[in-house]
Symmetry: C2
Subunit: 326 residues, 2 copies
């Protein structure tokens, strides 16, 4: 019996290849430094989740045109633009196991190529000449920058609430995945109710993905994640596992956790102690349960569609959100 | 006899006030740090040239709606977004006589608020639901980021050609001013020939403004410019006065100039010697003549319109491009 990941990959291989080709094509005529920097961030092991979700969402709505891969590029470009700027701001040394772009090409290049990718995404979106598509892209770009700013302002704060955490991941992550699914439905000229269902599906999947990602930061056996375990904590980012555990802990253990968290250069032993406390106060299982719940809600949104291979793929992607590395 | 500047200001006072109000309104509901940083860059003595040109261009085309000030905001936001990122990249200490935003709010905030202003500009543009407006904005945003990247790649190069210089200022400066005039015509539903004329007018005015700005960097009596004289040179940016003089100079004096230029911490005496060489090899007069020529071409584009007060204002702005600080 092959794994979910293998089965999912098998059914989307052709789409992924077409998306790769479109990503390459749309960079070809640009300045060498732009292409090099953009390629570094674009072709370093991203999963193409966002463009894939757009393409499959369009297919669920019986899209029969030829522009889906072209539009799908928008979401990978927007995603890459935010990664370039975020890595700079977070001071993270690696992404997906490779040195971050600004450490190779310089901070200025990272800022400007991020701007370029954002602008390029909008130029591609403009081709659609569809006000709802433009509006969705403009709004999500605005929300993402707001999410980043909220996250930056939250850095180092020990009193972040679950609500504040949700605001950040909605703006930063779920919004773009929601937009990808929404625009898949929009280019297929789907009826409004289907547009809203796929938007909601994307939103829930996006939340589940981010929660799982935040959980993985505390799971010591995930060295293959391509980033350091505990990286969020080192950057002063409190995510749901910690937020929940801090709320549940008694004063002494809460103070012990805060002490470890506040120390940006914590030892392996301290980190292990923290993970044990997250475990015993339910921070890990609570986060997993919440992510589970969002995957369930995502799949519920799919219930209104006719069964199809594409619909099954969306269901599998929702499940994958949860399982991918755990 | 009052000066051109006074006469121009007298006729645009009401428009400038309405533009100020719209700039404020569009920032009100956002995060405190965003508003503060955006306000620092937006309300520190900008001339509002771009929004003003949009509003007056619309008026020349008999615009009778109420949304001109709202759309005009787009151009000041886009401009401010690039200033935030450019100042960071250039490492300039002051802009318009005030400390640059990133020195007050930090580099991360400057990057993210720049992203936010860019996204906000697009969200406002999306309201128009007009494919040509969206397309113009998307394209100009892309061009500006390309211009910035070209400029960064040119830094420190002594063999920049006039053609390369023109490419940078077209993308970086003239494109946005052109877009402002173009969108003024577009929101007024002007006929295509008027849209093209005003676009060309904006392009020529933009080139003239940038050339004048580059010239001012070498004119020692312009301390009121709000930036250091010789700032471009300190950042390794070769502009037209230098590019031209280097081409005209004999080998010995070219080498002397290159020596001064390559020294980022040149003395006042060295800078004065350089300005003398720019003068004697015609770099200053050549740049002034080129700017003059672009102003003439800008005004020629206006010849096809019916005479009106708004049209006169556009003529005055073209003249002002040349005269403003010299």
């Amino acid at each position: 019996m092959s794994s979910l990941k293998e089965r999912l990959l098998a059914r989307v291989t052709n789409d992924l290849e077409a998306i790769e080709a479109a990503l390459q094509d749309n960079l070809t005529p640009y300045l060498d430094l732009v292409s090099k920097t953009a390629r570094h961030i674009l072709f370093s092991g991203g999963k193409r989740l966002r463009p894939l979700l757009m393409v499959i969402s369009a297919r669920v709505c019986n899209y029969s045109g030829k522009n889906d891969k072209q539009f799908a590029v928008i979401f990978e470009y927007l995603h890459a633009a935010t990664l370039l700027h975020d890595d700079l701001i977070d001071g993270a040394p690696v992404r997906r196991g490779k040195p971050v772009a600004h450490s190779i090409f310089g901070n200025s290049t990272a800022v400007l190529v991020g701007d370029f990718l954002l602008a390029r995404a909008l130029s591609i979106a403009a081709i659609a000449e569809n006000a709802r598509i433009i509006d969705t892209i403009a709004k999500v770009t605005e929300d993402m920058s707001q999410g980043e700013i909220q996250q930056m302002m939250n850095k180092g704060r020990m009193d972040i609430t679950e609500k504040e955490y949700m605001q950040v991941i909605e703006n930063k992550t779920a919004g773009l995945i929601k937009a990808a699914c929404r625009i898949g439905a929009l280019i297929a000229d789907a009826p409004d109710k289907d547009i809203e269902r796929l938007s909601a599906y994307g939103y829930y999947v996006g939340i589940a993905f981010q929660m799982t990602d935040d959980l993985l930061d505390y799971l010591a056996d995930t060295w293959d994640l391509g980033k350091e375990v505990g990286a969020d904590l080192k950057e002063g980012k409190l995510t749901l596992p910690v937020i929940y555990a801090l709320k549940q802990a008694d004063t002494a253990e809460r103070n012990r956790m805060i002490e470890i968290i506040s120390e940006s250069d914590f030892s392996v032993a301290d980190f292990q102690l923290l993970v044990d406390l997250l475990q015993s106060y339910g921070g890990l299982s609570y986060t997993r349960d919440r992510a589970d719940e969002y995957v369930r809600m995502a799949k519920e949104e799919l219930a209104g569609f006719e069964p199809s291979e594409a619909l099954e793929t969306l269901e599998m992607i929702a499940d994958y959100a949860l399982l991918r590395k755990i």
